[in-house]
C-alpha cells in the first residue's frame, strides 16, 4: 500500500467507476430515484394550488422534500447492492483506507442525486410554470452545496443502515434529524435566490451550507472505518 495522493485518487476512482459502470449496465438506481422524485412533485401538485406567487413560497420546500426522499432511496440502494453480493466484506478487507472507499461511494451518490435533482427541477419547472433560468447560477450553487452535505451524511448512514433490520425505515430516521440544518439552509437560500434577491441577503445561508458540507465530509471520512468493520 502506497499512500501517495495519486494512489488515493486511483482508489477513489476505482470505487466510483465501479458504481457508475454498474449503474450504466442496469440503470436501476437512477430510474427509480427519478421516477420517485417526480411522483413527489406530482403529489404536491394536489396538496397545493400552484399560482405564481404561491409557487415561489412553496417550490423550495417542495423541491427539498423531493430531494430528501429521492436521496433516501439512492443511499439505501447504494449499499443494498453491496450487501447482496457480500461486497461490504470485500471492501472492509481491501488493504486500503476505508475513508477512500467512502469518498468513492459518496461521489457516485452525488452524481446520481444531482442527475435526479435536475430531472425533478425540470418537472417542477414545467408543472408549476416557473422558470429557473434567471436564478440558475445561485440556485444551482446552493442546491449543489446542500446536496453535497446531504450525500456526505447519507452515504455514511446508508452504510450503517445496511447492517440493520428495517433498513428502509431506519435510514430516514437516522439521517433526517442530522441533515436538518442542510434542509433549512437549502430551503432558505434557494427561496432568496428564486425570488431574485441580491445574493448578499442569503449569503450567510450559502456559507453555512458550505461549512456543513465540509464538516460532514470530513467527519464521515474519519468514521467510515468503523462503519465498514465486521
Amino acid at each position: 500500500m502506497n499512500p501517495t495522493p495519486v494512489h488515493s485518487l486511483k482508489i477513489i476512482a476505482a470505487v466510483l467507476t465501479k458504481d457508475l459502470r454498474l449503474e450504466w449496465r442496469n440503470r436501476e438506481t437512477l430510474a427509480s430515484v427519478c421516477v420517485f422524485g417526480i411522483l413527489v412533485v406530482f403529489l404536491f401538485n394536489f396538496a397545493f394550488e400552484p399560482g405564481r406567487e404561491e409557487s415561489l413560497r412553496q417550490l423550495p420546500g417542495l423541491l427539498w422534500v423531493a430531494f430528501a426522499f429521492a436521496g433516501v432511496l439512492c443511499f439505501n440502494r447504494s449499499f443494498a447492492l453491496e450487501r447482496e453480493n457480500a461486497c461490504l466484506e470485500g471492501m472492509a478487507l481491501a488493504p486500503v483506507d476505508p475513508g477512500l472507499v467512502y469518498l468513492g461511494k459518496m461521489l457516485a451518490n452525488l452524481i446520481f442525486l444531482c442527475i435526479a435533482e435536475c430531472v425533478i427541477v425540470f418537472a417542477a419547472s414545467l408543472w408549476y410554470n416557473f422558470s429557473f433560468v434567471p436564478s440558475l447560477k445561485w440556485f444551482g450553487l446552493i442546491t449543489f452545496l446542500c446536496t453535497l452535505g446531504y450525500v456526505a451524511v447519507g452515504t455514511t448512514f446508508g452504510a450503517v443502515a445496511a447492517n440493520l433490520h428495517m433498513r428502509e425505515v431506519m435510514l430516514p430516521v437516522l439521517q433526517f434529524p442530522v441533515a436538518l440544518p442542510i434542509f433549512i439552509a437549502g430551503i432558505e437560500a434557494s427561496t432568496g435566490a428564486l425570488k431574485g434577491d441580491p445574493p448578499s441577503s442569503y449569503m450567510s445561508w450559502v456559507k453555512l451550507a458550505a461549512g456543513i458540507a465540509v464538516i460532514f465530509v470530513v467527519l464521515s471520512y474519519l468514521m467510515f472505518e468503523y462503519v465498514l468493520e465486521e
Partner: protein, 231 residues
C-alpha cells in the same frame, strides 16, 4: 460493591428531590406576570440540562468505546442514551404545559423547541439503531458512530435553527443585561438542577448495574454451554 452504596445513592436522591420540590412550591417566590405556572420552570429547565448532560455522556463514551473498545464505555453510552431519552421526553412534555397558559399555544416551531425535538429524535434513532442490529459488537460500534455524528450535529442544528426563527424566552441564567433572577429563585433553580442530576445519576447507575448483570449472565450461559453441550 454491595448494597450500601446504591442505598446511600438512593437516599441522597430522595432527600434532594424532596428538598427541591419543597423549594419549588413553598420557598421560591411567586413570579409577577406568569404566576404559579412559572414554577414548572424549576422542573422543565433542569430536565433540559440533564438531557444535554446525558447526550454529552453518550458522545464521550462513544469516543472512548471506538478508541479503547471497552465494553464498559459501550454500556455507559447505552445506559445514558436510555435514561436521557426519558428526561428528554419529559422535557418535551413539561414544555407545552407551560407554553399553553403563557403563550396561548401548546407548541411552536421556534428555535429551542425545534432543537429539543431534534435532540429527542437523535435519542430515538440512537436507541432504535441499537435494537435493530442483531450482533451486540456491531450494535456497539454503529451506535458509537451515530452517537458521535449526532452530537457534532447538535451545534450546527442550533445555529441553523436560531437563524431561522426564535421565540423561546431568552436565557435568564448568565444572559445579557437586564436578565437575572430573584436570589431565592436562583437558589431553587440550582437545587433543582442538582436534584435532577442526582436522579439521573441514580437511574444511570441502576441501568449500568443491569447491563453488567446481563453481561455476566451471558458469559455464564456460554460457560455452561461449553461444559454441558448436550443440554
Amino acid at each position: 460493591m454491595g448494597k450500601t452504596l446504591p442505598t446511600i445513592h438512593f437516599l441522597v436522591t430522595l432527600v434532594w428531590m424532596l428538598l427541591a420540590f419543597w423549594m419549588i412550591f413553598l420557598y421560591a417566590p411567586q413570579e409577577l406576570t406568569m404566576g404559579e405556572v412559572q414554577r414548572i420552570f424549576y422542573i422543565h429547565a433542569p430536565l433540559g440540562w440533564v438531557a444535554g448532560t446525558a447526550y454529552t455522556i453518550v458522545f464521550i463514551s462513544s469516543v472512548i468505546y471506538l478508541w479503547k473498545r471497552s465494553p464498559a464505555a459501550d454500556d455507559l453510552a447505552h445506559a445514558s442514551g436510555e435514561v436521557g431519552f426519558i428526561f428528554c421526553s419529559s422535557l418535551l412534555f413539561t414544555g407545552p404545559l407551560w407554553a399553553k397558559p403563557v403563550w396561548g399555544i401548546w407548541w411552536t416551531w421556534d428555535a429551542r423547541l425545534t432543537l429539543t425535538f431534534v435532540l429527542w429524535l437523535l435519542f430515538v434513532s440512537y436507541l432504535m439503531l441499537r435494537s435493530y442490529v442483531s450482533s451486540p459488537g456491531r450494535a456497539a460500534t454503529l451506535a458509537a458512530v451515530v452517537g458521535i455524528i449526532g452530537f457534532v450535529d447538535v451545534p450546527i442544528d442550533y445555529m441553523a435553527i436560531r437563524w431561522w426563527r426564535t421565540q423561546h424566552p431568552q436565557p435568564v441564567i448568565a444572559g445579557g443585561e437586564g436578565s437575572g433572577l430573584d436570589p431565592r429563585m436562583f437558589l431553587t433553580f440550582m437545587v433543582c438542577v442538582g436534584a435532577f442530576h442526582c436522579l439521573f445519576s441514580y437511574l444511570l447507575a441502576r441501568r449500568l448495574r443491569l447491563a453488567r448483570a446481563r453481561r455476566e449472565v451471558s458469559a455464564l450461559r456460554r460457560t455452561l454451554a461449553l461444559r454441558y453441550p448436550e443440554e
